[in-house]
């Protein structure tokens, strides 16, 4: 569906030349999209929303590059790719998602220290720009401004090797984060090469699957023994259901693990499901029902409680049960049952591969 307001705003985003203007545009688009939410099918809404987020992030990077030039630090010394991880990587950002980002750049032939400094400074400005625009930084510090996540290709490859060699809990978590990586700006080829290393390493370290499985199934579907929803018991959110970690993330994790095993490089969960069907790992019928459940989780996740503060857009991933109608509750329960079924299938399939 064509949405002239959104297209107009997108156009303005791509030409705005200062951060305040970008912030202003984001506020407008937030308001606009929020109003649209109840009227659109969730998949389409999600796509349009993420298109806008991508545009804002891209613009933030361009503005940061210009700022660097203005400060006399020149233009990027080597080609690079600005990466999004987490929900941004999966094209599943909500109206209020945080920043999870990284950078991969071409190995410099000379002055590698200077290049490193350039990208460090650039990324600091990008992260700051995005913060001004209302994106809170990742609490786990998976950020391009963190020098651990801003590396030339060869160092990335070495880092991946190291993670695969010593799959401690944190390393496994990082590897799963990398799997969701997507290039939002710059040389997409660089990410492709990074992913090449990733999947080569996967083939050489089949045992990593066991660790990934443990990590992937850590979050449980919030469905109780009696088929009831498991709600928050205490605190301000008492009675809410944690859609993010009790429905959405477990499903994302399950589909991601299946996809990694097939070398699928798509990052969005629904696209991954399509690819799994093509690879013959998921039947059309299963993909349809799991897809339906996932769309519901996406929709409910967009309705979770907003916690905007300090000019940052944020939400806690929890849905107040007051917002759930009887029909939605029933639908959520049956979707959570499907989610459980998927988790069992993932466990079975992955264990089968391991033995």
């Amino acid at each position: 569906m064509n949405d002239p307001v959104r297209l107009q705003l997108l156009k303005q985003i791509s030409s705005v030349d200062h951060v305040e203007g970008l912030r202003n545009l984001r506020d407008q688009i937030h308001e606009h999209m929020e109003a649209l939410l109840p009227t659109r099918p969730v998949e389409q809404f999600n796509e349009q929303l993420n298109e806008v987020h991508d545009a804002v992030i891209e613009r933030s990077v361009i503005l940061a590059e210009a700022e660097m030039a203005r400060m006399g630090k020149g233009s990027p010394p080597v080609p690079y790719a600005y990466l999004l991880f987490g929900s941004g990587g999966r094209k599943e950002q909500t109206l209020s998602s945080d920043q999870d980002s990284g950078v991969v750049y071409v190995d410099p032939v000379a002055d590698s220290a200077d290049v490193k400094i350039y990208f460090k400074e650039l990324c600091e400005i990008i992260v700051q720009n995005l913060q001004h625009t209302g994106y809170p930084p990742c609490e786990g510090n998976v950020l391009s401004s963190n020098s651990e996540w801003c590396l030339p290709l060869s160092e990335w490859a070495a880092k991946l090797d190291q993670w695969f060699e010593e799959p401690a809990w944190e390393a496994v978590r990082y590897l799963l984060i990398i799997a969701d990586g997507r290039c939002v700006y710059g040389e997409k080829k660089l990410l492709d090469e990074l992913k090449d290393s990733f999947f080569t390493d996967m083939l050489n370290h089949p045992i990593i699957l066991q660790r990934m499985l443990d990590n992937t199934l850590r979050h449980k579907m919030l469905l109780g023994f009696f088929g009831q929803l498991l709600k928050e018991q205490y605190g301000e959110d008492a009675g809410s259901i944690d859609i993010k970690y009790g429905a959405y993330i477990p499903m994302v994790n399950s589909i991601r693990l299946l996809s990694i095993q097939e070398g699928i490089r798509e990052t969005s969960t629904l696209e991954r499901m399509n690819m799994l069907v093509k690879a013959g790992k998921l039947s059309e019928a299963d993909a349809a029902i799991y897809g339906g459940a996932f769309r519901l989780f996406l929709r409910l996740r967009l309705m979770t409680t907003e916690q905007n503060s300090d000019d940052l857009y944020a939400n806690n991933g929890k849905l107040s049960s007051r917002k759930l109608t009887k029909e939605m509750t029933d639908e959520l329960k049956s979707s959570l049952r499907l989610g459980k079924k998927l988790q069992r299938a993932v466990l079975k399939q992955t264990m089968g591969r391991l033995t």
Partner: protein
Amino acid sequence: MIKKTMLALGIFTLLFPVMAFAEDPSAATLNMGLNSLWVMLAFILVLLMQGGFILLETGSTRMKNAGHVAGKTIFTTGLAALIYWAFGYGMAFGGDSGVNALFGWGDFFFNPSISAAEGDSFPSTVFFLFQLAFAAVSLSIAWGGFAERAKLSSYIVFTVFFIAIIYPVVAHWIWGGGWLAEDGAQDFAGSTVVHLTGALAAFAATVLLKPRIGKFNKDGSANEILGHNQVFTALSVLLLWVGWFGFNAGSTVAIGDGFFGYVAFNTMLGAGAGGVAALLISWAVTGKADITTMLNGTLAGLVAITASCAFVDPWAAVVIGLVAGVLVFYSVKFFEKIKVDDPIYALSVHGAAGIWGTLANGIFATQLLADKVGVGTGGLIDTGSWKQLWVQFESVVVVGAFVLAASFLVLGVMKLIMGFRVTEEQEIIGLDLSEHGAYGYPEQMKKAGQNIQG
């Protein structure tokens, strides 16, 4: 070597010739002696339950109140001993009063004979001690409603009234030959007398005190104020569990034919079933196997089986425990819903389970065991008669109404005259500092205290 031994034995025979000629004690004396030892041992076990209450209350509350919570239990147990000696015992078990159905009258400032009289099955001293320990347990249950916000002085005043009047009157009604005893109310070791009484006093206190700062949000949702040491809480349950064998099995007050073993056996089953049921229901309903709930369930099983341990078959003890475990889980939820702050879960563990345990007699008691104990009749299942259940119901309602009214009166008047709750500042700083001037955990609390004062 042999020579030396023979010599030593010879000298001993000369020194203690009486040993060789002493008369064998009579069977009655032996019986009295064994009973006395048993009741004395039971008293010691029940007194040791105070250690359980210290750890239970401390573990379930915050660090800043730890010293206060622990210390005041020792203090009030000591005070209770004096008050019970002076008044309480006389109100419960003293000689005839004009209205003997309502309370006893006599034996104030109890002055017991130094040994058991001819024909007594134990000296009155051990009986006094045993009963005192029960009163002190009931008192410590009541403190659950005071926790973390009542003034130290209110503990002192309430100890006096509770130990002198409220508890003894209930004990007299059911155990001291009062009117409920005459009706045949069955409460073997005190589900009602000790636990329900303590819990209702706690209820009155917590209602009058109002919830702790930060327990409930403006929208009515509850916050979880976690206790500072779950190991203390678990250890407290073990201490109470062990002590409970004095509490229940000791309530036979006789060695007799070994019936106390049967009582202990049922007690064990009830406790186990309570813990298991609570953990399962917590896992099934909330998705988490909550430790606090499991501990509460074990205690609830013990509380519930307390009334019925001598009256029911082993299978019924298991059922009573299982129901208590589930009941305590929902009871905690219920009190949270009606916004009653119950820091130690006294209302649910001792109140709800105490009511259930008392009523359970009316359902599960067997005629055989009722005849053996000599109180009331068999329950609904064994006899098909509703009579005993009605009597049990009556005792719960009447005792409940009396304790609630008396506790509200005493605490309400106290609140008016001298104040009941500490100030907001004192509550936030913690009672260790405000009531006693020093923290229970000085190293850990120093920094927090400075933040508040600075």
